[in-house]
Symmetry: C2
Amino acid sequence: MPKIVDAEARRQEVVQAVFRIIASDGLERASLREVADEAGLAVGSVRHYFSSSDELLVFSFGAVIDRIADRLEAAMSAVEAKSPGSPEQQAAVLNLLGQVLPLDEELAVDACVWMAFRHAARIKPVLAAEAARSHRTVAAVVGRLIMLLSPGEADAHQTLVTEAERLLATMDGLCMHALLQPEWMTAEMCSDVLTAHLRSLGAVPTVR
Amino acid sequence: MPKIVDAEARRQEVVQAVFRIIASDGLERASLREVADEAGLAVGSVRHYFSSSDELLVFSFGAVIDRIADRLEAAMSAVEAKSPGSPEQQAAVLNLLGQVLPLDEELAVDACVWMAFRHAARIKPVLAAEAARSHRTVAAVVGRLIMLLSPGEADAHQTLVTEAERLLATMDGLCMHALLQPEWMTAEMCSDVLTAHLRSLGAVPTVR
DNA sequence: TATTTTTTAGCACGAACGTGCTTCAACACC
DNA sequence: GGTGTTGAAGCACGTTCGTGCTAAAAAATA
């Protein structure tokens, strides 16, 4: 009966428009009118697929989380496939951590959008649930990575948690600086910092 | 001739209102009307002291940068007054790094406002100059700290820069997590992570 | 071809925004 | 005690926002 349109594909197109607007003009400019223009649609059309502005934003937040989570999961599998301590594993780990950094234009858009939504979630309660999911998802991957890289010591649970949070903080800090001060935080500086951090992981394995 | 009013004090009161609004409702809610209400003034009065909305925001950004810079400078002096390697110095360093974290309500407001302005500066060109100043100021303090804590090796300039950026990233990441996920990133977790980071500084002193 | 249902487009309303401009009140000075 | 400068207040205009609601267009089915 209807015009044959893949609803899910349309929603993804709209979400991509949201991403582009957030990356270039910020989340507060991602209004229905701006999104509709960017997607080449009318406001009524966008509202046909997303019943409200909030629903569009929450869906877009979830979409970027899924994108990042998928990339991290794939990169984590690659890490686990390498032999422990090998240079190949080291490279795979750097690749994994680089998935959340704006190292190319596509990654930069995701990083921008991800940051914008997480900060917006502090204020907008509708985004809180997705923000918590985002944190849990990434923390789980980083936790597995820390367990993999920490020599033995399955008992020192406290150390593992602290080291996971430490790596998580460094990753988000690097992402922030690469987005906000790209002149100072270049891609190779990111790589140097991450390498130094990984060296510090191996060098301070046990508590105290 | 005029009504006797300390203009600078009035400006500071308005700025404090801006801070409270940003901390509780976000930067985008810091409109002239909201700020005037929060300060107990009329829109026209606020505009008497700040000729435009942009000027108010830029001035407020500068104010929070100055607050943080002053605290860091004072804490840095305290660090330099302690004997190198002593537990007192260790405590002073932790205190220094804690100045940018939301460890109490006053610090939390500053951290919120600081983060909000830095992220807004990516989009709003009027804030770019202050954002650069913010980065330079904090980076200078952290650079001095790294030089103070790094054993010898005045030659390895690359290592010092990398370690400064690494500490800077960790600080901002911790600040982010403490603001956005306070359930996970508690004050003691911040302390644990910073302590682990400082241990990693001493443990991996030289390049390679 | 006629019908039915989805998709697309658009209008209208109230609210909030920044800002130019005008008006009122208050106080220091001659 | 006038008087003029300045702080405080507010109106008005044009924009933009979300959203409820209506109307046209398009395509698969009868």
